[in-house]
Symmetry: C2
Subunit: 403 residues, 2 copies
């Protein structure tokens, strides 16, 4: 039975309860909110009114104190929230603390510590390989099936959904150009990804094993790793992407905790190469997630990448990221890498969808190879929940504006 | 005249006054210290005792509030400090607030926001190119002379000088190996660098021009970008270094402000390629720095890399890092890249000094190709100051311990 007046089957029902940070007009203070349908519960106010021992975690201006509290506390807070929004006895207290989404401002939900981006979709990696190295014997680099390739990105330019993205300027040089030229990127792209948010830190020198994923990771979000392909192509040999990515990374405003996705857990694809023990998940619980992503440009859906096809899981990425002894901090964020499925309509970037501009997309408002000023890109996703319900991951959206 | 009882010509005299963060035995509180000779001035206590309006900046547990205050405040604070440590009238107040270095614990002086590492020494880049691509027509990649190549590193594993470095484990695969193997790195290396510390932030979408360097950068430090060459070699194509670097980066405990290095400013090397306007520094003040670095293993000096030979300046690196609209945050740290001069004794990594292990170094305690457990690596540096004085950049040291 849905709580209060929530419609039956709402994907933001009490089976979801994602966390965010909001403020209300006239009150600049930010505080923790929990989404219920098209409302935001002032979770801190509810905690105080109901005498919760966790009120201080829920009245903070970011999710970081809650993230740092660790899994036992996460479970207690989630259980309490479910009770508050489902028990009719709490209705008189809780209902006045539900604010329409349209009446609040949503903020970046957590302070990002380090941001790492992976490259975990085999379909994406093969597409990119075929586009940029058409003559190579194998479209994957030799290391691809042995480790989840990743690199550090810029945490200072992670922004919340709804933030405009200024078209970056930079150097580019085509193979036939005698010298690089400078100007606004002419190949601005999307990367549809899922982000994982670290709560519990780990000390330097102590790798997190595969089975430690749920102890350290709080929840997930949608992530658009905006990419300027022309800037990236000229700069990235030999030390990787830099300015082609660092201008902006957008994340969704709502962070569903891992528990909300428990019904979406699936086995990852069959491994084609033997894995070193620290990455071998054959004896682990299924660590993939069946998340159905949708990519829309100006409201027109252009792709539906299936996250279940990702070769490397978030647990493997975490184990790899720390196997050298690197520590984790509360607020660390890592992206899955572009999610692309096996078919043309499942590709998570315009680079792939247009095959590097060769096959423009036909949108209602004209052709697209890469993004144009004014374009609004929206990634959304849902996952199977309990009892046939859907769990919404919300959306991450951003509009391209001229520099 | 040196202040108080400081020896004539001390490289930590009132012409230097680097900032750090310290605590005293029995008092866990961290506070800002300023080094004077072999003593640390409790700058916050001095500020309070002398009625300074900047006391709150100097009693913080990190340098970040001071960094955020901006250049006019930085100048005022430095002028005040010089007066406090040179005017005999202040001696009765200041002298009791000078603690012997040996009696305090030094901490990471600032909270690192984003960490970026560059690759700005032409000699280093050419050495690396010749080692890894011996058959290439040019030892530099085609982009090298057009932009300062850089990438983001892990800010969560930046540690203060004196912190032990645990030998990282990871995957490696030699060209003849059928599959990667896992184990402790067998090619653990040094990278002798200089780090630049950002104070004043900048908003997204607003590049910092070359002339903005002194408005945004507070000071510098020594930086050892520890590198596991075997891990790096296997992982870095196509997205750059990741676990080969992310296990630890050490920085010196003392941050001289830029003003302390004003007498060390020199013109960078002659540019061999025309630069795009945002990087063209031909009409700017000289933006190189004459810093004389020394690299020692277990007390034995193995190299003296000259920072004045760096092709790309810190001002160019800052302009490049932000030209795509990326914002700066207080506490951003960027490394110069390995400093290597033109001669064999001026190389800033063991990779170069031993030519990838082919030519072992002869140390008093035996041969070295790469670092062994127990090795203590110390980078130190000085620069020309006013009136023939030297400005010390202190040192960054770290001992390798088994994982």
């Amino acid at each position: 039975m849905p709580p209060f007046d929530l419609p039956e089957g709402d994907p933001f029902g009490p089976h979801n309860l994602p966390y965010g940070v909001f403020s209300r007009p006239g009150t600049p203070e930010r505080t923790v909110g929990v989404r219920l349908g098209d409302h935001v519960l002032d979770a801190g106010a509810a905690a105080r009114a109901l005498g919760s021992p966790h009120a201080s975690l829920l009245t903070a201006p970011t999710l970081n104190p809650l993230l740092a509290a660790g899994r036992p506390t996460w479970s207690q807070v989630r259980a309490a929230l479910r009770a508050w929004v489902t028990d009719p006895a709490h209705r008189p207290v809780v209902e006045p603390l539900l604010h329409p989404l349209s009446s609040v401002t949503l903020h970046l939900p957590f302070e990002v510590a380090d941001y790492v981006d992976f490259y975990a979709s085999e379909h994406h990696a093969r597409n990119v390989g075929q586009i940029f190295r058409p003559d190579a014997a194998d479209s994957l680099t030799p290391n691809w099936k042995h480790l989840p390739i990743g690199y550090h990105g810029r945490s200072g330019t992670v922004v919340v959904s709804g933030t405009d993205v200024v078209r970056p300027a930079g150097q580019r040089k085509g193979p036939a150009d005698p010298a690089p030229v400078f100007g606004p990127s002419v190949r601005l792209d999307i990367e549809a990804e899922v982000g994982f948010v670290v709560g519990t830190p780990s000390p330097m020198g102590s790798p997190v094993v595969l089975g430690g994923f749920r102890d350290h990771v709080f929840g997930l979000c949608l992530l658009n790793d905006w990419s300027a392909r022309d800037i990236q192509a000229w700069e990235y040999v030999p030390l990787g992407p830099f300015l082609g990515k660092s201008f902006a990374t957008s994340v969704s405003a709502w962070i569903p905790p891992l528990e909300a996705l428990d019904h979406a857990r699936v086995a990852p694809p069959q491994r084609t190469h033997p894995l070193l023990p620290y990455l071998d998940d054959s004896a682990q619980e299924p660590a993939g997630y069946d998340l159905r992503i949708s990519v829309a440009i100006n409201g027109h859906v252009v792709s539906e990448p299936p996250f279940s096809t990702m070769y490397w899981t978030a647990a493997q990425q975490l184990a790899h990221m720390t196997v050298n002894g690197a520590s984790l901090r509360t607020g660390d964020l890592y992206g899955s890498g572009t999610v692309s499925g096996p078919t043309e309509r499942e590709r998570g970037s315009l680079l792939e969808l247009t095959w590097n501009g060769r096959d423009p997309l036909e949108l209602p408002d004209g052709k697209r190879t890469f993004l144009e000023d004014g374009d609004v890109v929206t990634l959304s996703a849902w996952a199977p929940g309990p009892d046939g319900l859907r769990v919404s991951l919300g959306e991450v959206t951003g509009r391209i504006v001229a520099g």
